[in-house]
Symmetry: C2
Subunit: 129 residues, 2 copies
Amino acid sequence: MRIGELAERAGTTTRTLRYYESRGLLPARRDPHGHRTYDEADLRLLRQIRTLQDFGFELEETRPFVECLRAGHPEGDACPASLAVYRRKLDELDALIGELQAVRAQIGVRLALAGDPLCEMGGERSWKR
Amino acid sequence: MRIGELAERAGTTTRTLRYYESRGLLPARRDPHGHRTYDEADLRLLRQIRTLQDFGFELEETRPFVECLRAGHPEGDACPASLAVYRRKLDELDALIGELQAVRAQIGVRLALAGDPLCEMGGERSWKR
DNA sequence: TGTTGCCCTGACGTCCGCGTCAAGGCGTAC
DNA sequence: GTACGCCTTGACGCGGACGTCAGGGCAACA
């Protein structure tokens, strides 16, 4: 299949695919016209990238997963390098979530002090006002 | 005081102050040499901006707080517009924290499925591995 | 023959909060 | 005189993941 079809089937754009190729993440074969050609395996790689992107992974962080799939593993996270990225991401998320919860608490306090009766306190247990 | 002193007292840089001025957030008087001149009130405004920036507020979101202080209120969050920003930020934070926790849980599950015995499950109660 | 539709490369634009460099002015100290 | 230190404006750079435009090619269909 060509780039337009792959983009559509993965819910992304041709620009994105060309960008991935420029980063060496998803290289394409070429047909006699110089047009990029992809197969079902490429679609799987692309879906893996998109899933991780949706999780907030940077593009470079998806590389181990892609290479793992290309190495023949059935899942992108079947390789040690992928698991290492998972663990790093877990630590990053924990740190970030902690900071955001601290900020949330601060703002909650200030809202309460400013006399907003709709504001509940307590942090993560009461999300809705 | 001049720009260098204000920057140092607020723990920031002259570049940052000129940028704030270019955004209309912290305009400066000028002395006969054309040099920017600030007073203690400007330092308070600047500290307010920096505090909110540290909280993750965008520069534009700090504007109501600055204007509130400039209007003579003792606190930047004493005005309705500031409180509105607080509430919007709370909602944004809750949404973001929720998403991040969902992602964290997903990654935790995948790590566990991939056979990482060090990984604990359960989301926000067990942050450390 | 012309129009449509897909593809190509190259390059500049976007957002945000500045960092960094260039080129120059003014005042003080040595 | 000249070196230093602070100030000025203007403008380009950065990072990340693309969006968008310019200019052109090739094939199928009417």
